[in-house]
């Protein structure tokens, strides 16, 4: 890949990731060097209760320290706001637990650089390689695929994937509104209704390097319920906006 004129912000949400966060940031910086990319790393510390903040402060990256724990949605929203305000062309979400290998970064950035897509999602399931998650979880993901297909007519294979890249237009939409709590599947519906071009590219994911998933077995029923409700109401709200304003506004696109 030639030297890209695009300024990229990699947002890494971090909640109690003291075991993995240093490695994640180091890998991104390595990939940045190798591929000669203009990448800044922004770690969003979501009020970690462990030693994460002290570790982040010593790393070669930008960081914001949320004074209140907001959950993944609020943390990512902070990252997208930051990207929007500082004029980044591309924002990438990458988990702080090491699930998303930095070597895959160029893969999800390329369609954005080439102008092929507004949203690129790194998917585990397009090519069945690497960590595939558990059976129950894949069942849930299949349900979300059906829900997305039903609502926006797009089949997203890995809608819970938190490995995604946004272009400027998407950043401005995420800046204005980003779902709370479990934002990944909901935001796909949001982007779909904004008529953004969503592209999935196959990536290889690893099993988490440290920490525990934010979604435990006990929470998964609540997760399904919350995401379904959130998705449906988001759908209705955006449809209403569309009807009353002609197009979905609320975002100041400058691309």
């Amino acid at each position: 890949m030639e030297t890209a004129p695009f300024r990229v912000l990699v947002v890494v949400p971090c909640y109690n990731e003291q075991a993995a966060i240093a490695q994640v940031v180091a890998e991104i910086n390595e990939v940045k060097q190798q591929n000669n990319l203009t990448i800044d790393v922004l770690v969003v510390n979501d009020r970690s209760t462990d030693n994460s903040l002290a570790i982040i402060q010593k790393l070669n990256c930008h960081y914001v320290d949320l004074p209140v724990n907001l959950g993944i949605g609020g943390a990512m929203h902070a990252g997208y706001k930051y990207a929007y305000r500082h004029g980044y062309d591309v924002a990438v979400q990458m988990d702080g637990d090491g699930q998303h290998p930095a070597e895959e970064l160029p893969k999800i950035l390329k369609p954005i650089f080439d102008g092929q897509a507004d949203v690129v999602i790194g998917s585990r399931f397009l090519e069945r390689t690497g960590f595939q998650s558990t059976f129950a979880r894949r069942l849930g993901i299949r349900y979300f695929r059906w829900l997305n297909q039903f609502l926006i007519g797009k089949s997203i294979h890995d809608s819970t994937s938190g490995f995604r890249a946004f272009n400027r237009r998407t950043i401005s939409i995420a800046n204005a509104y980003y779902p709370d709590e479990y934002p990944e599947p909901e935001s796909i519906v949001q982007f779909g209704l904004h008529k953004l071009r969503i592209l999935e590219v196959p990536v290889v994911m690893r099993e988490r390097q440290g920490g525990t998933s934010s979604i435990t077995l006990a929470k998964s029923v609540y997760y399904m319920f919350k995401v379904t409700m959130g998705t449906l109401f988001l759908y209705i709200r955006l449809q209403n906006n569309q009807r009353s304003h002609g197009i979905i506004t609320n975002c100041h696109s400058d691309t």
Partner: protein
């Protein structure tokens, strides 16, 4: 119906007045915002009215076709409570939204401050910090 109620009448009247006093004190001490005290004051006034005007409840019940007056109280009370709970959920939701936005802004300001400090680097090192960590 005539001998029994005078005791309960006094009881409910003092109860209502005490409650009104309690609400007023909360407002005066700044622990309760006026807009949320409104519903409590209205409820207390209704309570006072009916503890003085005993026949009123019966009359209204019969008018509405309710033959057991106390059940009308329960119906009304539950209805009011549910409405108020929904109202509180709405207030809570908007508060959560505000907290999220404030959190973002504070985090950005903290970062900007840290960056500024780093730019100025050494000269500030000796001074006391502008913002202390919680």
């Amino acid at each position: 119906m005539e001998s029994l109620p005078i005791v309960i009448q006094i009881l409910s009247l003092t109860g209502a007045l005490l409650f009104l006093f309690f609400i007023a004190r909360l407002i005066v001490n700044g622990k309760l915002r006026e807009e949320y005290s409104f519903i409590w004051i209205v409820c207390t006034i209704i309570l006072i009215v009916f503890s003085i005007w005993r026949k009123g409840l019966e009359k209204i019940s019969l008018m509405l076709g309710v033959y057991y007056p106390p059940s009308l109280i329960f119906l009304a009370a539950i209805f009011v409570i549910i409405i108020f709970l929904v109202h509180l959920s709405v207030v809570n939701s908007s508060m959560q939204q505000s907290v999220k936005e404030l959190t973002h802004e504070i985090a950005f300001l903290k970062k900007e401050l840290a960056d500024l400090r780093e730019d100025q680097n050494k000269p500030l090192a000796g001074r006391s910090p502008l913002v202390t960590e919680a």
